[in-house]
Amino acid sequence: MSKTYDILIIGGGHNGLTAAIVLAKKNKRVLVLEKRPVVGGLAAGEEFHPGYFTNGLLHDTSEVNLQVLRKLQLENFGLKWQSAAPTVALLSKQGECVKLSHDAEQTATEIARFSAKDAQAYREYISFLASIRPFIANLLTDFPPDLTAFGRRQLWTLLKKSLALRLLGKKKMLELLKVTPMCVADFLNEKFETGFIKAGIAAPALYGSFTGPWSSYTTLNLLMHECRSASNIVGGPQALINALTKAAENAGVEIRTNNAVQEILLDENHSVNGVRLSTDEVIQAPIVAASCTPQTTFFNLIQPAQLNYTLEHAVQHYRSRGTTAKLHLALNKPVAFNGVGGLEFYRTGNSFDEMERAFDPVKYGAFSEEPVLDIHVPTVSNTGLAPSGHSVLSVLIHFAPINLKGGWNEDSKKRLYDITIKTLEHYSPGISASIAGAELLTPADLEQRYGLTYGHIYHGEHAVDQLITRPFPACANYTTPFKGLYLCGSGSFPGGGITCMPGYLGAQTILKHC
């Protein structure tokens, strides 16, 4: 009780931990308060069936920012990574498969089996990405440009960013300006002809965004994914959490699990005083950094009357309709899709029309009859997650809405489970017979277990209006209208997924102010 802290961090997910380390390294006394019994949030592995583990609810570590890992010196805490995204297999319904690897030429050769035109288009696509990557990656790893301030520094930053855009060259710049607002289907249709390849490339553009391939601005989501997808953490998200936890402890961060924050305490001048836990324990600190969702921060942890209407309105209209469900399967044998085994990542989709049809129902409170699956087989590289010779399947199911008509119950869960297994069975015949255990998490379950508002895996939809001023203008740049209250979770720029960026930039903002 007598201990005092400079900064309290709400939520011990990967962003909360990242922020904690950055701050502790600057000699701040930091306490991380995690509601769950384990740290890691969506990056934490779980035993979902006796003897079978996932290594993270989210399984893609390709967007983790390597510069941040190096700055935090996580290699000293046992973290290993590759500086290239892992290979992903795109599956067609006709039993075909194309492996997208970081080796563009090898991938082009793979694609050439289906279309020589697509192979050439892929080379051009990769070359376009390479040319815009420095610009986009810089945008996403730096503070969001502040378009409102007219200080010398802000203008200089704007100028630099505009210059970087112009330095792409006239052709590339105009191309980028043209394609960004496009729907990903139009964008890729201009280049490719093979349906399942296009769909597979496009898939990440739709994750957590409440869009289908025909929705505008999905190309922006795709380019953002492609430009930062350049890493692969050995051991997956849980390995990242292990290293972050060690680094945090080493930096002097105190971490308390099973400590749910009940209220952020504010004084009469709307300045942070500390927090009150669900046990009624009060912990004082002048700064609180919230890595939970913006809605949790403002609606669950702050007294309603403390919010002015403008903020209330902004929080209320921040879009975070969960559309993703999660399936964990314990399998008693190795697994292959369309005959291809030994890979960690697979994507289904088959065609834009089928993806769009998978998306359509969520608008009306129903889930896809044939969902788009983002499949991860963590046991390929991490055999310890299951008994020897067995495997674990981690499947993100797109799309299943939080507001399912009739509600989520055993019945509707069973239907979603059956549909998902049926879809998996199409690509991996006989898979159902090898299921030793299963766990299906609907958006409602995700909300319940992880405190994700409306079960949104990214703490809010990825959309162009929720990007630069994420989550909303009043709280862009990690600050809030409350003195001493900061945001450092996926609800802040540059958004959700495992990147470490909101935590890192949030912490930098706090350091600027104290």
């Binding site: 009469e268 709307h270 007294q303 309603p304 009357a305 002015n308 209407y309 403008t310």
Partner: protein
């Protein structure tokens, strides 16, 4: 008979060609005015007081059961949206009146409060019985202890076989009551009060008479003396409570409420504007007319247009504008309510008020005075004040 539209209802301006008899009823006997077009809300539940305290600039949690608070409510920037009365009918039951529809605004703040907010505008009728004989009339129709009912108090009583709420409130600055009744009984209530008032010179009164009395009483009117901040097209049209003479209703040092931060800052830094009363010089006005060979002409009706107010005769420096005014028959004065720059709001300050005589603009002197031009003792007098 003259009519106008008030909040979607046809409302009477005057029952006869001129409203003067109705005005004198308000001031000398009693006038009965239909105020049903007001917007009315019921707020109930364990958090009702906390909920209203968050919305209103006044601390409603401190309002005792049976009391009424006149107050206004602000946006986030401390600019006034509307003003009205909040009546505490029970520990967990409130009745709120508003000039503009307020349900949408109030309902924005429901999250987190155990309250039920109901728009009862169309279910409840309102009758304003105003004037020196109003207490005696009301005594004839109900057995509420009116001699003990204080200014800005409210109580429930029965008339014949139905219930009404009485609040000792009004918009005339006189002794008066407002009666709130379910629509079903509204006509019966009207008849009962009119019958009882026959011996007390009661008259049905319209809005023209009310307008004269409310200017005399210094009571401001939304969309005339200030604008609803939510409807203002430009920021300059928005006003804080301090700027429209409602600073006294603001209770700053308490839990958070809408506009608190901005109002605290304004309280510290000072306001830009103030609403003042203007006592317009009559001889000077007369003189201007005489010079053109005309008798002085004044409308009997209260006016509500923007009239420039200057610091000096040469009209070089406009320091404000009058928003409504009237010839006050009871005070024999030409009076107005004006918004002036804060440094000109001291009582006794001489300003220049623009008048147009025969198409030519002049100014006459106007002395800054209290907004409450007419404030009779009987307005607040309680015959049996010992009982609460």
């Amino acid at each position: 008979m003259k009519w106008k539209i008030w909040a979607g209802y046809y409302a009477v301006c005057s029952y006869e060609t001129l409203h003067d008899a109705e005005y004198y009823a308000f001031r000398n006997s009693a006038g009965l005015l239909d105020v049903s077009p007001l917007f009315k809300y019921r707020v109930t539940g364990p958090d009702a007081a906390a909920f209203l305290s968050r919305i209103m600039v006044r601390n409603i949690e401190k309002l005792a059961v049976g009391r009424v608070a006149y107050c206004c409510w602000c946006d986030d920037h401390g600019k006034v949206i509307d003003d009205g009365t909040v009546m505490r009918r029970g520990e967990q039951e409130f009745f709120v009146t508003a000039a503009d529809p307020a349900f949408s605004w109030f309902s924005r703040f429901l999250r987190g409060y155990r309250v039920e907010l109901t728009d009862i505008s169309d279910q409840v009728a309102g009758l304003a019985l105003q004037g020196p004989t109003s207490r005696d009339i009301l005594k004839q129709v109900c057995d509420a202890d009116l001699d003990a009912l204080k200014y800005f108090a409210t109580c429930k009583t029965r008339v014949d076989n139905f219930e009404i709420y009485i609040s000792r409130t009004g918009y005339t600055g006189d002794l008066g009551y407002e009666l709130w009744v379910d629509n079903a009984h509204a006509l019966k209530l009207w008849d009962a009060v009119m019958d009882a008032g026959r011996n007390y010179d009661i008259r049905p009164a319209g809005l023209d008479a009310l307008d004269v009395t409310r200017v005399e009483a210094g009571l401001i009117l939304k969309d005339v003396d200030y604008y609803n901040a939510l409807h203002a097209l430009i920021d300059d049209r928005k006003s804080s409570p301090y700027e429209i003479s409602l600073g006294w209703t603001v209770d700053l040092d308490r839990g958070p409420f809408n506009g608190q931060a901005a109002l605290k800052a304004e309280k510290q830094q000072g306001s830009k504007w103030a609403i003042v009363g203007l006592d317009i010089n009559w001889p000077q006005l007369e003189e201007l007319y005489y010079k053109r060979g005309l008798p002085p002409v004044l409308s009997l009706q209260a006016w509500r247009s923007s009239i420039p107010v200057y610091a000096s005769k040469d009209k070089r420096k406009q320091v404000g504008y009058a928003t409504s005014g009237t010839w006050s028959p009871i005070l024999k004065k030409n009076i107005a309510l004006a918004t002036v720059q804060k440094q000109y709001d001291k009582i006794g300050t001489e300003l220049q008020f623009e008048v147009t005589v025969e198409h030519v603009r002049h100014t006459v002197s106007a002395i800054v005075s209290k907004t409450q031009f007419y404030n009779p003792e009987h307005k607040t007098f309680t015959p049996k004040p010992s009982r609460s």
